[in-house]
């Protein structure tokens, strides 16, 4: 007789009331992981899916083969972008509490991922983002006011009030219309890239997905198509440790990392310190280069931490210790880049404080401008007519009848 089976249900190591302890988490030192040529046979770098590429060490120095790709100006610009995104988030969370918008999603702790990655793309490339990559717009200097117009669903909302706040669409900036349904954009990114290849163009695509959402079926669909047709696409997995209240162990299951998911498709799969602006940029560049040289897809796992709430509808203290964020071993991306710049002698505490104030002013100015166009519950907002428009290129008769019936 066999002994009875039992179900294994993974649980995070600590829950509220417990003391977070990451000392047993092994993290490779900065500079340790090599930088293979982009045309390497993927089967030779399987171990990279289980390591972690880092550039900035504890002393704020850039170390190893992935360092040295960005100028001081570029790094300061990067700091800029991260701090602007952080300032926008902080203000919008307040705006939501004030009833100026129904909903907001912030990026706290994850600012490096999207802002640094954006810099490896060129005009004409296309991102298929999730709701937590507004940094892609910020890093391309997309007008804050336009973003806030969308968040406020006011009369100047580019999306006419049709979409939930933060679900932007900006084709001009290579930012595909956001879906509220998780993971659907991943195969779409692959299709976009395939089209680029079919047409013989040079543009590449980037897909984005969260750790929790890799469990969705479309993640697999994307990897199958990307692998089979060697699509020129970078497949980005942002592992911020949490999917609302669910820790990453539920989606990841028995394998060590999310990057490892790519191994089963023969796709080069790298793992990178997502709170390290330099590392994100360097790894993104490597993957983009692969895509541009028609070498096919790359999967990247960005290891980061969702320091804030999932959204304005969420309170994480119900499911994880408040202290977990501070204990998180990869630190804060803004503080780390700041320390690096100071170590390099091109930045200072006082300039930092000044920039912080500047970013806040920039956001406030944009916010004011946007508020002049109305907020969520004000009167100057998209009309009921806008609701009926745009379902099809041409409004079909039944919808015209309905619009008439509605009296607008």
């Amino acid at each position: 007789m066999s002994s009875p089976l039992s179900l294994f249900v993974p649980e995070p190591e600590v829950r509220p009331g417990g003391v977070p302890d990451f000392t047993n988490v092994h993290i490779a030192p900065a500079g340790e992981v090599g930088r293979p040529p982009v045309d390497i046979d993927p089967s030779e770098i399987r171990d990279m899916a289980f390591s972690i590429i880092r550039v900035l060490n504890r002393d704020g120095e850039a170390a190893g083969p992935w360092a040295g790709l960005l100028s001081d100006e570029q790094l300061i610009e990067g700091l800029h972008h991260m701090m602007l995104l952080r300032a926008l988030d902080a203000r919008m969370i307040i705006a939501q509490r004030q009833g100026k918008t129904s909903f907001y999603i912030q990026h706290l702790g994850e600012e490096a991922v999207s802002t640094a990655f954006r810099k490896v793309l060129k005009k004409g490339d296309m991102n298929f983002p999730t709701y937590r990559q507004a940094g892609l717009l910020i890093a391309e200097d997309y007008p804050l006011e336009a973003m806030i117009n969308q968040i406020y669903a006011n009369s100047e909302d580019p999306l006419k009030g049709r979409q939930l706040p933060t679900l932007y669409s900006v084709r001009e900036q290579g930012f595909f219309t956001l879906s509220g349904n998780l993971a659907t954009q991943f195969p779409q990114a692959v299709g976009w890239a395939m089209a680029s290849a079919i047409k013989g163009e040079t543009n590449i695509a980037a897909g984005w997905i969260g750790d929790g959402s890799t469990a969705e079926s479309d993640f697999h669909a994307a990897l199958v198509f990307a692998s089979t047709f060697k699509a020129p696409v970078v497949l980005n997995v942002v592992n911020n440790q949490w999917a609302i209240s669910t820790f990453q162990g539920i989606a990841r299951g028995g394998v060590g990392t999310f990057a490892a998911r790519g191994l089963g498709y023969g796709i080069p799969s790298l793992r990178v310190d997502g709170n390290d602006y330099l590392a994100v940029h360097a790894v993104g560049l490597w993957a983009a280069e692969r895509a541009r040289r028609n070498l096919g897809p790359t999967l990247i796992e960005y290891v980061t931490y969702r320091a804030g709430a999932h959204s304005t509808s969420d309170d994480p203290s119900a499911y994880r210790p408040k202290e977990e964020s501070a204990a998180w071993p990869l630190g804060d991306p803004v503080i780390r880049l700041k320390a690096h710049l100071i170590a390099k002698g091109v930045w200072s505490e006082s300039r930092h404080v000044q920039l912080e104030a500047e970013m806040l002013d920039t956001v406030i100015a944009a916010q004011k401008a946007a508020e002049a166009n109305g907020t969520m519950h004000s009167d100057n907002r998209p009309s009921a007519r806008d609701m009926f428009e745009g379902v099809y290129a041409e409004m079909p008769p039944h919808l015209r009848r309905q619009r008439q019936e509605s009296g607008v």
């Binding site: 129904s102 079926s217 609701m387 009926f388 379902v391």
Partner: protein, 337 residues
């Protein structure tokens, strides 16, 4: 009897079912430790253990697919899809598998399971947190489809659904979770604390599937509604002073044709209300049934008041939502026709 909100009643229904039958398991995204984004499963993991209530990976097809396997192995899974808008990845497993296990195997295997999903708008959720996909289930032979509109029914129907030998889609109008929605979004929300259907029996009881309920007797016109729209219809009757008979269908599949025809043949007029997109909505089926079975009693055209044929917008939510003004206008027009 105890006073409960609808979310408490649903939680209590699962609690009662889990307490009586070890084979009832509850899982879904965020339903374990946290107790679900709407807190419907709060406390169940603590009470019944991680084996009976747990977090699932974000994979709706995996949630339903594994539940089918569990049901075939003698369990009664009651799984949650976080929003009805996210059931689409599971639509294959629900409609092509769960619905047909009994039929295709000639009852060699069966599939007793409940799939709970918060449905409907009214919370500014935009096009991916507001949908009412009931008509996508009522077209599927082998499924049962339930939509409660108050705490009493929610608990009684949920326990009945869990005990049912076949798969049941259990749609929970999220706007009703914590306060009955009288249809006037601009007025303050009154909670379940003072509503008569907020009185819920303790312990085990069921509301049988397949039975509609007359929520307001009337002589002039029949309103067929379910979920949030029952409250809207009641408000519209009050606002217009029209003596409407308001029927809460409660179960859409199998539907209660007797209750429908008895009322419409009595009043001779019929208004159908739902929040889902008009075209090919469940209201179409109701209109077709009424047109067929009450033809010789009808004194006016059957009117449907429904969501417009657009995605559920965000900012224009109250332009989209079929509120008491639109329902009232339809009642008036039907009386004048």
């Amino acid at each position: 009897m105890t006073r409960m909100t609808m979310i408490q009643a649903i939680r209590d229904g699962m609690d009662v079912a889990m307490g009586r039958d070890d084979s009832v398991v509850v899982y879904g995204e965020d339903v374990g430790y946290f107790g679900g984004v709407f807190r419907a499963t709060q406390g169940l993991q603590e009470k019944y253990g991680r084996n009976r209530c747990f977090d699932a990976p974000i994979s709706e097809s995996g949630i339903v697919g594994t539940a089918i396997g569990m049901a075939a192995n003698g369990m009664r899974p009651c799984v949650e899809i976080q929003f009805a808008d996210y059931m689409y990845p599971a639509y294959d497993q629900i409609t092509q598998e769960a619905a047909r296990i009994r039929y295709r195997s000639n009852a060699d295997f069966t599939c007793p399971m409940v799939i709970r999903m918060p449905t409907g708008g009214g919370i500014f959720g935009g096009q991916t947190h507001s949908q009412s996909p009931e008509a996508l289930f009522t077209h599927v032979a082998g499924l049962k489809v339930v939509v409660p509109c108050n705490p009493y029914d929610a608990k009684g129907l949920l326990i009945a659904a869990i005990e049912d030998p076949d798969p049941v889609i259990f749609l929970e109008p999220k706007r009703l979770y914590n306060g009955p929605f009288d249809g006037h979004y601009e007025r303050p929300v009154t909670g379940w604390g003072k509503h008569s259907d907020g009185e819920v029996p303790e312990g085990h009881f069921t509301v049988p599937l397949g039975q509609a309920k007359v929520k307001r007797e009337g002589r002039d016109v029949t309103v067929l509604a379910y979920g949030t729209m029952v409250h809207v219809a009641l408000a519209a009757a009050e606002d217009t002073g029209i003596d409407a008979e308001v029927i809460d269908l409660r179960t859409l599949l199998p539907y209660d044709l007797d209750a429908i025809t008895a009322s419409v043949c009595k009043t001779g007029r019929c208004v159908i209300v739902h929040e889902a997109t008009l075209t090919s909505g469940f209201g179409a089926e109701l209109a077709a049934l009424v047109a067929e079975h009450c033809f010789y009693h009808l004194e006016a055209p059957i009117r449907r008041v429904a969501g417009w044929d657009t995605p559920y917008p965000h900012a224009q939510e109250w332009d989209y939502f079929p509120g008491p003004a639109r329902v009232g206008a339809a009642l008036t027009q039907t009386m004048e026709a």
